[in-house]
């Protein structure tokens, strides 16, 4: 298997503060790669550097053989790398169905498609697909509600649905289960596992060790802007450095 994402020597400073220092990371195609680490370790910054929200000071991000640095966010999306946001970034004035149709339309029509005279009601396939994805994720009864009016947990699931409908080559998940009840968390894990069988590569940033150890093939541990260990869940569990930096504080 080849690497779908290669991060080489990426560093980023904010006003003298080293958020990321010399990060090297390889994500193998078809796997779930989890990035864990204490708060403020730079996890979100790293994701932002991948999807073009931030430009790293040094280093390169190569996705599927192409350099991603300096690319526009919409081009990165079409290259096949899609991010699911931690704080729900949804279209609150639109219905759930419309929220999910938009990424599907993006996938089909590209970055810009001028079709002011096509009637929405002709878009039956996209609508059906969106409905299907929403049902899969457990929001089937809310398709016509406004996205601004649903609960926080539902918003997180909507975010996930918006990412999944694009069938990206690589899905970046930023704490997909944060703020969810245990029952919902388990359902989300099930869902992610199901999709894993379809061969979608995923990078997951997660706090919840239960989620990480039940999903991940590979785990990288980020602490103070550096990667201190990468390996299988078993390796990570037994790594003394990791225990010291991260797991120790979790287990008390």
């Amino acid at each position: 298997m080849s690497n779908i994402l290669e991060i080489k020597n990426v560093s980023k400073t904010f006003g003298g503060l080293h958020a990321l220092g010399d990060i090297n990371l390889e994500v193998e195609e078809g796997t779930i790669h989890a990035i864990i680490g204490p708060n403020g370790a730079g996890k979100s910054t790293l994701l932002n550097c991948c999807i073009g929200r931030l430009e790293p000071d040094t280093g390169s991000v190569t996705f599927n053989g192409h350099n991603m640095i300096g690319m526009e966010p919409h081009d990165i999306n079409h290259a096949g790398m899609v991010r699911v946001f931690q704080t729900p970034e949804i279209f609150s004035d639109l219905t759930l169905l419309e929220n999910v149709m938009l990424p599907a339309l993006s996938k089909r029509d590209g970055t810009f498609h001028f079709n002011p005279f096509v009637d929405m009601r002709r878009e039956k396939e996209i609508k059906a697909e969106a409905r299907h994805v929403l049902e899969d994720i457990g929001l089937g009864n809310l398709v016509d509600s406004h996205a601004g009016s649903i609960s926080r947990g539902d918003k997180r699931r909507l975010e996930l649905a918006m990412g999944l409908i694009q069938h990206p080559k690589l899905l970046l998940l930023d704490e997909p289960t944060a703020g969810m009840a245990r029952h919902d968390t388990n359902k989300t894990i099930e869902l992610l596992q199901k999709i894993k069988e379809q061969g979608m590569t995923k990078v997951i940033i997660e706090h919840d060790m239960h989620v990480v150890f039940s999903l991940a093939d590979t785990i990288s541990v980020l602490a103070q802007g550096r990667i201190i260990a990468t390996g299988t869940p078993e390796d990570i569990k037994n790594d003394p450095k990791v225990k010291e930096a991260y797991l120790g504080e979790e287990q008390d």
Partner: protein, 382 residues
């Protein structure tokens, strides 16, 4: 039944019937004559177009009067150089306004929020100042661009239309553009314009514009290049403004720079907000209300006010007349400004929001206390 009412065809038929019979049903309230009807239709087009930008994308432009002005100047030039037929005039004007909108939009849309508003404001003021000064050969400065007997009118000459001692009038293949025929011409274009707006509102393109208003950053990460979407919406709305400007020139062949001033853009903002931005017919309602009351209020004077308040005791009548005379005639703009503030403060969704709230209220009233509806009302009200 509900589905049927939502179909494009049904909506268009109802709309067309309402517009085309306007002379009949507006007569009882004193607005059934061609002058004001034409105004309704022309400003209606202007507002429909403005709503495509502001209502859908949320980008507040203070520069649309510039496109209106460009449309008017282009139309008058077409009358002067080519022919008094309005068809070429409106085509050229719409295209010319589109070109201007493309250039101004391309630059202004590099920024968003208030910066976009200020950029469009700057462009509108620039066009206005230039029209008054350097561009006088094209715009005829303060006097305004007018027809003269010496105009070449090449096409009319070739068609063998005789030159007379008096200024020729605008026409559509001989059909006069004044009076009712003029109104029906504007009305047909209004119906076409409304159809375009309806299609855009109901297309995936329109949905993407609404999504940009809701969360532009997310649109980018969803894989959309938002700038061409915004630019195309800007150009379309600019072309609507150009068309409106051309129709103004068609009904009265005169173009002046004051049409381009940014406060004139403010007027269309006002109409859109008053009726309800982002809704299909809201802007048209806004135009109707403002133009109708402008007509009535501007014509009122003190003696008319005395008549209105004559049922009151003498001293109260004096007081009421004294207060209200500031709001009528010359003071109409005071009424307008006050009304506008009240709407923005209490009813940001305009008349359309008012109707929605009212119908929700009535529904809950008649169907007993339907919890969901009453909840919705209180939510909207807060």
């Amino acid at each position: 039944m509900k589905e049927l009412l939502k179909s494009n065809l049904v909506i268009m038929v109802i709309f067309a019937v309402i517009v085309l019979t306007a002379p009949a049903w507006l007569t009882p309230i004193g607005a059934g004559y061609p002058d004001i009807l034409q105004k309704f239709a022309i400003f209606g087009l202007f507002a429909i177009g403005f709503n495509i930008l502001f209502g859908l994308t949320g980008y507040l432009s203070f520069g649309h009067a510039a496109f209106l002005g460009v449309g008017s100047y282009t139309a008058v030039w077409s009358f002067k150089l080519l022919t008094m037929n309005v068809l070429p005039a409106i085509i050229f004007s719409t295209l010319m306004a589109g070109v201007f909108a493309l250039v101004i939009g391309f630059i202004s849309l590099r920024r968003s929020g208030i910066y976009f508003s200020i950029l469009t404001l700057a462009f509108a003021q620039m066009s206005y100042s230039l029209a008054y000064s350097v561009l006088t050969p094209i715009t005829n400065g303060e006097t305004g661009l007018q027809l003269t007997l010496a105009d070449p009118r090449v096409v009319d000459g070739m068609m063998g239309i005789p030159v007379t001692d008096s200024l020729p009038t605008t026409n559509l293949f001989g059909l006069a553009m004044s009076g009712y025929s003029g109104f029906y011409f504007c009305a047909v274009l209004l119906i076409v314009g409304f159809y375009v707006s309806l299609k855009i509102f109901r297309s995936p393109y329109g949905m993407k514009l609404r999504a940009i208003k809701s969360n532009q950053t997310r649109m980018k990460y969803t894989g959309f290049n938002t700038r061409p979407y915004l630019l195309s919406a800007f150009v379309i709305s600019g072309m609507f403004a150009g068309l409106a400007g051309a129709l103004m020139a068609a009904t009265d062949p005169l173009a002046g720079a004051e049409r381009m001033q940014w406060t004139a853009s403010g007027e269309v903002v006002l109409m859109t907000i008053l009726g309800g931005m982002g809704t299909l017919i809201g802007p048209l309602l806004g135009v109707g209300i403002i133009k109708y009351f402008e007509n009535i209020f501007s014509a009122l004077n003190e003696s008319a006010l005395h008549e209105v308040f004559s049922f009151l005791p003498g001293w109260l009548e004096e007081v009421m007349v004294w207060i209200s005379h500031h709001f009528v005639g010359e003071g109409w703009h005071l009424t307008l400004g006050t009304l506008f503030m009240l709407v923005v403060i209490f009813l940001p969704g305009g008349v359309m929001e008012g109707i929605t709230r009212l119908s929700a209220y009535l529904k809950s009233k008649f169907k007993g206390s339907d919890e969901i509806t009453s909840e919705k009302v209180s939510e909207d009200a807060s």
